[in-house]
Each structure stands twice: as structure tokens, then as C-alpha cells.
């Protein structure tokens, strides 16, 4: 009788422990890590988008933009259009594929939908530039700080001057 009770208690305790442990793990995964990033690189005066777009009907037809945003010729994802990423109802937000609205400060979530392997490397600190402390607080950059989202290929730079040749050293 006593041993039965004991084994029941033991198994119950084990069950409780497992429940708690698995729960703790789930909680740990659910909390998205906050990344310390500077504000997104908006062109001056362009944000909030709603200052112009509020009350403007959303045109989902791909076309050449003529009134505004003429500099944007989409060279990213062939066949794409604004509303793949921008939210048509409230332009101050971005929209994920699952319909969730996110702020421009979290745009890495949007990029990470397709560029999963790069997003994984970015989160660990391997992709992209890091400044700050190697053993402490690190400053991350958003994807859009280096990749213009409408044409994401990294742009060419002018190199700094080459070293002096030995023949030119006096």
C-alpha cells in the first residue's frame, strides 16, 4: 500500500517537473529577442507615410510611379509590388505575409520571411555590421541600413587610395 502511494507521488512529481521544464523551454522560445538598432533610414520628411497616404485609395496594380516615389523602380523579387511589404490600410506599418502588422523598426522580421538563412546569421551577429562591445551591448543595423529594400544589392563604393609603392617612398 505504502509503496504504491510512494510510486504514485514520485511519478506525479516527475510529471509536474516535466511539465514545468517543457513550459520553461517554450516560454524561452516565444519571447522574441529585442535588437538594439538605430532608427530606420527614412528619406527626410517622408515619414509618417500617413501624412499623404491617409484617405488615399490603395492602388494594387503594378505600374510606373509618376506622381511621387519616382526613384523607386522595384528590382527586388520579380513581379512584386508595394503591398507585398507595405500595409495598404495603414501605411505607417509594414505587413508580414501572415497579415501581422509590424513597425519599420522591426523590418528585419519582414526580410527574414524569405531570407531565412541570412536572418539567422544576422541574429547571431554574423551577418552585417556590429559596433559596440564584443563582450556586451552590441549595436545592430537594420537590413535596410545597408540594403535599399527596393534594390537590395549592396552598392559599389569608391575604394580608399592604394598603399605607396616602395619606389615612391623617399
Amino acid at each position: 500500500m505504502g509503496s504504491k502511494k510512494k510510486s504514485f507521488l514520485l511519478s506525479f512529481g516527475l510529471f509536474l517537473f516535466l511539465l514545468l521544464f517543457s513550459n520553461a523551454e517554450a516560454v524561452e522560445q516565444d519571447i522574441p529577442k529585442k535588437f538594439f538598432v538605430p532608427p530606420p533610414p527614412f528619406s527626410p520628411g517622408i515619414y509618417p507615410c500617413s501624412q499623404c497616404h491617409a484617405g488615399m485609395p490603395a492602388n494594387a496594380k503594378p505600374r510606373k510611379l509618376e506622381m511621387m516615389h519616382q526613384d523607386i523602380v522595384l528590382k527586388h523579387m520579380p513581379g512584386g509590388w508595394c503591398f507585398n511589404c507595405h500595409n495598404p490600410d495603414n501605411r505607417d506599418k509594414l505587413r508580414l505575409a501572415n497579415g501581422q502588422l509590424i513597425s519599420f523598426e522591426e523590418s528585419y522580421l519582414l526580410c527574414g520571411q524569405c531570407h531565412g538563412t541570412v536572418f539567422r546569421d544576422w541574429k547571431t551577429g554574423l551577418h552585417g555590421k556590429r559596433t559596440g562591445m564584443w563582450n556586451g551591448e552590441k549595436q545592430y543595423l537594420l537590413c535596410v541600413h545597408c540594403h535599399w529594400p527596393h534594390e537590395p544589392t549592396f552598392r559599389q563604393l569608391q575604394p580608399m587610395p592604394p598603399p605607396a609603392r616602395p619606389s615612391n617612398i623617399k
Binding site: G125, L126, N135, G136, C146, L157, P159, M160
Partner: protein, 308 residues
């Protein structure tokens, strides 16, 4: 046969006495007696950096700070931060990202007080043709100067001190003026270096630089935050090289080249910390080290993050 000869003035001088006198006289000429200020003699009798205790280091640093202030007319702080326990520095460079823009070369010069004229660079960026024999250093180009980088058909590989775990330069040094610190950085005591350049001959990476002339750099461009073993102003006739920015990294900061890199190709961290970026790169990416076959065991890892 008698060893003692007489001379016309009748002074008898045996060989031993003559040599003694000659040695004394030479010693007298070697040590200029007019330089009687204490700092000269302190510098002359300065101990090896690793044999000094904290008080002696403090004294030496005070003397050097005074000398630099007289020379550059501005206050220069010389730190002597010790290695952190449980830290072994490692460096990663993503060859699939580097665009060869040389921003790192000049950020390094700015941070580490290299001579502007004659020019001293600690980082050399090599350009290779894609699809050729892999890493043929003889065929690399370091004077490339196009309008824009990256150029199609080329890739770039910056080379600097690889901070070997088994450093040939340290073994070559006849005065032990260069050594490996416990955090893995190979350092040089510029006051102990005699300028023989044996270490430069021993280094398989061409990472060490020699001050052939008096290092010239405008005082306003001198970075006043220095470390005794790192970026304090150097002298003519001493060897210098990359120290992973010891003055920054021992205070937890990233090296200057890491912070400037516009594509984020440069990674830095603690090899003993499994959570560090450098460990992630080593464990998950294709990694190689330069001239691995020489058994120098560098702590500088080249990797390819793109195209697994």
C-alpha cells in the same frame, strides 16, 4: 720573450692594463655624460615589460607620457590594461562579403598612430582573380585602384597580423621584445626592440612593419588613447604590427577595423565563449586559415558566410 715593451716616453704598459683602459675609455664614449637628466638614465636602465611590477610600469609610463607631451605638445594617455581572464581573442573575416574598399586600412592608421610619412599600413588588402588557382599569393595585387569596388570577376582578402598561437616571430626575436600575451595577442615592447627585423623575416604573412624613418604624423592626428603594448607613438628603427587594437579590445570594445567595415565582413570575439560570433562562424561556416600548413596556428579565421 718579454710581454712588456717599453715606449719612447718610458711608460711600461702590459697588455692587460692596456685593454682595461681601452674598455673604460670606450664605455665612456658610449654613454654621453652630458645627458645627465634622470629620464635618460631611467630609459637606459628600463626593465623588460614582463619583469616590471605595477609600480615600475607606472613610473615608466609616466616618463613616456612626459616625453610624448614634450614631443607632440598634447597629453597622451598610455594604458597598461592587463589581459582579461578566460579570454582568447579570435578574428573572423568573411571573404564572401569583403568588397576591397580599404576602409579598414585607414581606420587602422587613424586609431593606431601609424606614421603617415613614411607611410605605414598594418593591413594589406589583396585582390585575386576569381576562378584562378585558389589563393595564389604571388599573383595577388595590392595596388589595385579602380573607380568603384567590388569589381566583377575579383575577390579581396585583407591580410594583417594573424596572431598565431605558435608565432614564428616571437621565436626569432633575439631580445624577447615581442611575445604572446595570455589573451593571445602578440605584442611588441617598442622600448625593447633593437630593430634587427628578424621577426619580419620569420613572419610568413608579411604582417610586421619597420619604421625606416622617423615616424611623422601631425600632432592633431595623434590618437591620445593608447596602450603601452599597442598604439603609443613609435620610434625610428622599431618594428610594429596589428595588435587587435589592444587599447580597445581589452576594454571590451571592437577593433577599429571591425567598426568601420561597411559590409560587416569583419568579426571579432572571444574564442573561449561558445556564444560569440567568431565561434558561430567557425562552427557553422566554411573556414580556413592562411598558410595553415606552416603550423603557425593563427587565430585569424577567413570564412564564407554566403553560399553554404
Amino acid at each position: 720573450m718579454s710581454k712588456i715593451r717599453s715606449n719612447p716616453s718610458g711608460v711600461k704598459l702590459d697588455r692587460r692594463t692596456f685593454l682595461k683602459g681601452a674598455a673604460l675609455g670606450l664605455a665612456g664614449t658610449a654613454l654621453p655624460l652630458d645627458k645627465t637628466d634622470a629620464s635618460f638614465w631611467e630609459a637606459f636602465f628600463q626593465k623588460h615589460f614582463r619583469e616590471m611590477n605595477d609600480d615600475e610600469k607606472k613610473k615608466v609610463i609616466q616618463r613616456l607620457e612626459k616625453e610624448y607631451e614634450q614631443k607632440y605638445k598634447k597629453a597622451i594617455h598610455i594604458g597598461s590594461e592587463k589581459p582579461m581572464p578566460g579570454v582568447l581573442f579570435g578574428y573572423g573575416l568573411d571573404l564572401s562579403r569583403c568588397i576591397g574598399c580599404r576602409r579598414c586600412v585607414y581606420a587602422c592608421v587613424k586609431e593606431n598612430n601609424q606614421s603617415i610619412d613614411p607611410q605605414v599600413h598594418w593591413i594589406t588588402v589583396l585582390r585575386f582573380k576569381k576562378g584562378e588557382k585558389w589563393i595564389d599569393l604571388e599573383e595577388s595585387e595590392k595596388y589595385y585602384n579602380p573607380q568603384n569596388v567590388p569589381e566583377p570577376g575579383y575577390f579581396y582578402m585583407p591580410v594583417q597580423c594573424q596572431q598565431c598561437e605558435n608565432p614564428p616571430c616571437v621565436r626569432a626575436c633575439p631580445t624577447q621584445a615581442t611575445w604572446k600575451e595570455p589573451d593571445g595577442i602578440i605584442v611588441i615592447d617598442y622600448n625593447w626592440c633593437i630593430g634587427c627585423r628578424y621577426c619580419m623575416a620569420a613572419c610568413p604573412y608579411g604582417a610586421r612593419r619597420f619604421n625606416w624613418g622617423e615616424p611623422k604624423r601631425p600632432a592633431e592626428e595623434i590618437n591620445p588613447n593608447t596602450h603601452y603594448l599597442g598604439n603609443r607613438p613609435r620610434y625610428k628603427g622599431v618594428v610594429e604590427k596589428c595588435t587587435f587594437c589592444v587599447q580597445r579590445t581589452r576594454n571590451g570594445r571592437y577593433p577599429a577595423c571591425v567598426e568601420i567595415c561597411p559590409v560587416g565582413a569583419r568579426k571579432f570575439g572571444n574564442l573561449l565563449d561558445p556564444q560569440s560570433e567568431i565561434r558561430y562562424a567557425i562552427e557553422h561556416k566554411r573556414v580556413f586559415r592562411l598558410k595553415e600548413d606552416l603550423n603557425t596556428n593563427p587565430k585569424f579565421y577567413y570564412f564564407f558566410a554566403y553560399g553554404r
